[in-house]
């Protein structure tokens, strides 16, 4: 039966391909497979599918495939060892195996192997795909794979039982395919229920014997260790939500916040590129409530324990609003950088671990007070405490123009490659300004007259080799946030004011559906921080207000986008980030766990209630059955009893068969029970069609039924 081409085989073939396609999609949409690899596999699969399948694979072909797979295995292992891309290499190898099986898929066992490969791809998808598409694809896969398994099972039975049975089976299988689809749906539903129950109830205790690695991610520019001037201009139209913020106190921030969510910061600039020159990293130490706190300028703690569960900021002398803090929880999508975004001024962060792997996430200080984290790929969830209050103008003025400590020399270093015109401009702008605030304001005022624009055309000066900032300052006087911020920093440094560039996100838009603040990629922004002595670094935003945001709504169907993003957030929160804590919370909400209980045992009263409920359901069911029986005609009930007993022996009445003929058929097949069966059938017909049935008739029918049952018992014992 190898290589047989029947409609059932063709349907099985198509379903095999479909399940592989869905399984590949679970990893493909997450970027787990390189596009060229995916495209090559797709072409080869299509070729394998449309080419005429030979009845059997020749020995030479088998040897060639074995050799190819062997070579690929060696290449995969080598690549995994050399590049540490274990998952990527493994997925490519899996695709090769899929192609190999599709080219040689004559027998049911090969299709079984295809199903196994499909399931491995789905498992890989579960590891790398944190998208909302995964559960949808997984549900689709369950149905498609169940149907493929059913069909392949039928084909395998045909191969096992021989050609004669296979032909009948193929015909009957195609005839019953509607029922098979229904059965596949039911089996998939069983699997889905098992998945949900296990997901919800299986205790989470990650052991962490191995680490995940090589996961895919969306890389967003602007937050790496070096940034080219102009990067942000390309992402200002990207409406992808990259961050969701849930403040501790809701409703106090309106629909739009003005938080400057600090990410990366740079102290050095040259030739249109920002980078780090100062090697000193921010000091981070353990603090109250599990927070990692950033140290202040003098190395002191920025947070102090309080009686409430909310950490309290250490007051800064001469800064009245220094104790105004914002506590919030952030879900940050994996945007390919290791920076945590916290509104200025960040005081502390605390990563919420998702199992044992995330518990290994290590927060560390970055240069220029960045907060960086070593973590497994995928979204990350963390809490932050930031000093949201800002010094008043009077407080800033009170600082005057302090001397710059040696530690901050890098922030005042002259920018190489700039012409003297820049220094002259800075000096001219700040002429007469006696305080640091006045100098900053003077430069900000000058830049405020520039135009915000994403349409950047280099001036002749830049084309001739000058720095792009000079083109911005002297020629075009138009640019986006990076130009404004860079120009401000450069001008300030030219007059000895310590300043640095900060990249991050500006503001957040309230999502009423999910009740959180969403930050889109288009909110990426650049601003500056200026050092004010004991007050620390103070945020200034030289970009005109009109250029700070690019609109809160997604470009298409904003309402739907809000809903989709809220669902995505819930998915991340309750599926990807589902942990023991959430498990216990869920049980508490369902009333299955006492909130006061320490050991998490099920409430006994709920268990009792479930047991009583089940008992009641069984009792009601039994009563209802008895009631239905009682309403039926008594002779029909006796008939059903006897028919049931006869059916167990393999005798069922046909549609076109009278009781008497049915009895005759049984008598012919099994003479020992012929007499009682015949008597019963006659008696039943007499009762069933009598104008009025008497008690004697019923008694006779009962006796006849008892005789049949006794005869069946004797026959069974024989």
């Amino acid at each position: 039966m190898i290589g047989v081409d029947t409609p059932l085989h063709r349907l099985r073939d198509r379903m095999s391909l479909a399940q592989i396609a869905v399984a590949t999609a679970t990893v493909g949409v997450a970027g787990g497979i390189a596009p060229w690899s995916l495209a090559l596999a797709a072409v080869l699969c299509a070729w394998a599918f449309v080419r005429p399948l030979p009845p059997v694979t020749t020995k030479a072909t088998e040897r060639a495939w074995t050799l190819l797979v062997g070579v690929a295995l060696v290449a995969t292992l080598t690549r995994a060892v050399l590049t540490a891309e274990l998952l990527d290499s493994g997925l490519d190898f899996l695709l090769l195996l899929v192609v190999q099986r599709l080219f040689n898929r004559q027998r049911a066992r090969e299709h079984m192997q295809l199903l196994l490969l499909g399931s491995l791809l789905v498992v890989a998808g579960a590891v790398i795909n944190a998208g909302l598409n995964y559960p949808l694809l997984f549900a689709l896969y369950l149905v498609v794979a169940a149907m493929t398994l059913l069909l392949n099972h039928l084909v395998a039975e045909g191969e096992r039982l021989g050609a004669r049975t296979a032909v009948t089976l193929s015909r009957e299988g195609m005839r019953a395919r509607g029922f098979l689809w229904r059965a596949a749906g039911q089996v998939a539903a069983i699997a889905a229920i098992g998945a949900i129950v296990t997901f919800v109830a299986f205790p989470r205790w990650g052991v962490g014997a191995f680490f995940r690695g090589g996961l895919s991610r969306d890389s967003k520019s602007g937050f790496s260790s070096t940034v080219e001037l102009g990067d942000f201009g390309r992402i200002k139209s990207d409406a992808t939500v990259v961050m969701r913020i849930e403040p501790d106190v809701r409703g106090a921030w309106g629909d739009r916040t003005d938080w400057h969510l600090r990410g990366s910061s740079f102290d050095a600039y040259a030739g249109g590129r920002w980078f780090h020159e100062r090697d000193v990293e921010a000091t981070i130490a353990g603090g109250p409530f599990g927070y990692q706190t950033l140290r202040d300028l003098r190395g002191g703690a920025t947070l102090k324990p309080s009686r409430s569960a909310v950490p309290e900021a250490v007051a800064v002398p001469g800064f009245a609003a220094s104790k105004q803090t914002l506590l919030a929880t952030v879900t940050l999508e994996d945007i390919g950088v290791d920076v945590l975004f916290v509104p200025s001024e960040p005081l502390a962060v605390r990563v919420s671990p998702r199992g044992v792997i995330e518990s290994r996430a290590r927060v560390r200080g970055g240069r220029s007070d960045e907060i960086r984290v070593d973590k497994a790929p995928g979204p990350i969830r963390y809490q932050f405490v930031s000093r949201i209050g800002t010094p008043t103008e009077a407080e800033l003025d009170a600082i005057g123009d302090p001397a710059v400590p040696d530690a901050f020399a890098a922030y005042t270093a002259a920018i190489p490659g700039l012409s003297d015109d820049v220094t002259a401009l800075a000096q001219r702008l700040t002429e007469g300004a006696s305080t640091r605030r006045a100098k900053v304001e003077a430069i900000m005022a000058h830049l405020g007259g520039f135009t915000y624009s994403l349409d950047l055309r280099p001036s002749q000066r830049v084309l001739d080799g000058a720095d792009p900032l000079e083109g911005f300052l002297f020629d075009t006087q138009a640019g986006h946030c990076e130009y404004f911020a860079s120009a401000a920093v450069v001008l300030l440094r030219q007059i000895g004011v310590p300043a640095r560039l900060v990249n991050g996100y500006y503001g957040a838009h309230y999502n009423g559906v999910g009740e959180y603040y969403a930050v889109r990629q288009a909110d990426a922004h650049s601003w500056i921080e200026v050092h004010f002595g004991d007050l620390g670094w103070v945020t200034f935003d030289p970009t005109p207000p009109s250029g700070r945001t690019s609109g809160d709504d997604a470009p298409w169907w904003p309402g739907a986008s809000e809903w989709i993003d809220a669902v995505r957030n819930t998915y991340l929160d309750w599926v990807i980030d589902y942990d023991l804590g959430k498990q216990l919370t869920l049980f508490e909400n369902l009333g299955l766990r006492d909130r006061q209980a320490d050991n998490g045992l099920l409430r006994w009263r709920w268990l009792l209630a479930v047991m009583v409920g089940l008992g009641a359901a069984v009792w009601i069911g039994a009563r209802a059955r008895k009631w239905r029986r009682g309403r039926a005609r008594p002779e029909a009930a006796i008939w059903r009893t006897v028919i049931r007993r006869l059916a167990r022996r393999g005798y069922s009445p046909r549609d076109d068969e009278s009781p008497r003929r049915f009895g005759a058929r049984i008598g012919a097949a099994e003479p020992p029970i012929a007499a009682p069966v015949s008597t019963f059938m006659r008696t039943y017909e007499a009762c069933r069609f009598a104008p009025q049935i008497t008690a004697d008739d019923l008694a006779a029918l009962r006796d006849a039924a008892a005789a049949v049952i006794a005869a069946l018992g004797r026959a069974r014992r024989r």
Binding site: L116, A195, W205, G208, S652
Partner: protein, 327 residues
């Protein structure tokens, strides 16, 4: 303790004639499930927990579904004609779905591979049996020995839904069937045949000869021998007997022998073959003697053929140490 547990498990799996076997694909699936379970517990990855749950549900669901398919299916094998030893005979396999609400999928009736016998029944397979319905599937059975034998040991089996597990339930063997001796190419009945006193008129009509008497009609008598006036007079069927029948009758003589003895079996087969060939002729009456004792009185027609074959099916002394039923 472990041995006792295994024993309990085996007993539970094989209770009431049932057995459960895990196929190679099933073992692979179980291994994959364990691996995913380990990965889920190890990593704490939530989606792996979901996949692990789905796989466990499929394993448990597979077991429950296959058990319900086997439990709800009743199979009977009914001989659809005469059965000759060593030759495929027609049987009808009736598969009944006892459940009035739910369909049964993918059940087969096949020989029990645990019984070592030459007897065999061709497997049959039903893709679907509607709720409360019976399907009849033609098949063949080959029984190697003449005599009274039950159908070969068989099972109702299913690998539904995915072929991961094989669930089987033994079928009752049913009432013994009468297996006629194997038919071999037989020589044409000759006058000098040591087992015949055929005479020299092989092709004469069965009604020829002098009228001898009327007798009661027996099953298989030629309808042309019915004496209709006497039937009308007596009110019961009677047939004519003729004196001259002896001239065209063939009495088969079989020496005493033991069932299973190859030489005796060969003689029985020869005898049966000759009888069938002779009774295929219109004018011949065939009878059978065993060890000088009359087993079947001479007669003709299809019913006589069955009588002779039935006698030959069970003729012979039982081998030493065997019961009559075994023989």
């Amino acid at each position: 303790m472990a041995r006792r547990k295994r024993s309990l498990l085996r007993r539970a799996l094989t209770a009431r004639g049932r057995s459960l076997e895990i196929t190679r694909a099933g073992w692979l699936f179980i291994l994959l499930t364990l691996a995913v379970g380990f990965a889920a517990i190890n990593s704490g990855a939530n989606l792996l927990h979901a996949i692990f749950g789905a796989q466990m549900a499929l394993i448990v669901g597979s077991g429950i579904l296959s058990e319900s398919m086997v439990r709800r299916t009743v199979a009977r094998r009914v001989a659809a004609g005469e059965i000759y030893a060593g030759q495929a005979a027609a049987v009808r396999v009736e598969l009944t779905n006892l459940d009035p609400r739910v369909d049964v999928f993918s059940v087969s009736v096949e020989d029990d591979d645990r019984s070592a016998t030459d007897d065999a029944c061709a497997p049959v397979f039903a893709v679907r049996i509607g709720a409360g319905r019976t399907v009849e599937i033609p098949a063949t059975v080959t029984l190697s020995q003449r005599g009274r034998h039950a159908m070969p040991a068989a099972v109702v089996a299913t690998r539904f839904p995915f072929g991961l597990f094989v669930k089987r339930r033994e079928l009752p063997r049913g009432a013994p069937l009468l297996v006629y001796p194997r038919l071999v190419p037989a020589p044409a009945p000759m006058a000098d045949d040591p087992r015949t006193d055929l005479g020299d008129a092989p092709r004469r009509r069965a009604r020829a000869g002098e009228f001898f008497a009327l007798r009661e009609y027996r099953d298989g008598d030629d309808l042309r021998r019915i004496h209709w006036p006497a039937v009308a007079r007596l009110g019961r069927p009677v047939v004519r007997e003729y004196e001259a029948d002896g001239d065209r009758q063939m009495m088969l003589e079989l020496r005493r022998g033991t069932t299973g003895d190859p030489s005796f079996e060969a003689e029985v087969e020869q005898c049966a073959s000759v009888a069938v060939a002779a009774l295929g002729r219109d004018a011949l009456a065939v009878g059978l003697r065993y060890a000088g004792e009359l087993l079947v009185t001479p007669g003709s027609g299809d019913e006589q053929r069955r009588r002779v074959l039935a006698a030959l099916a069970v003729v012979g002394d039982p081998p030493k140490g065997a019961t009559a039923v075994d023989a």
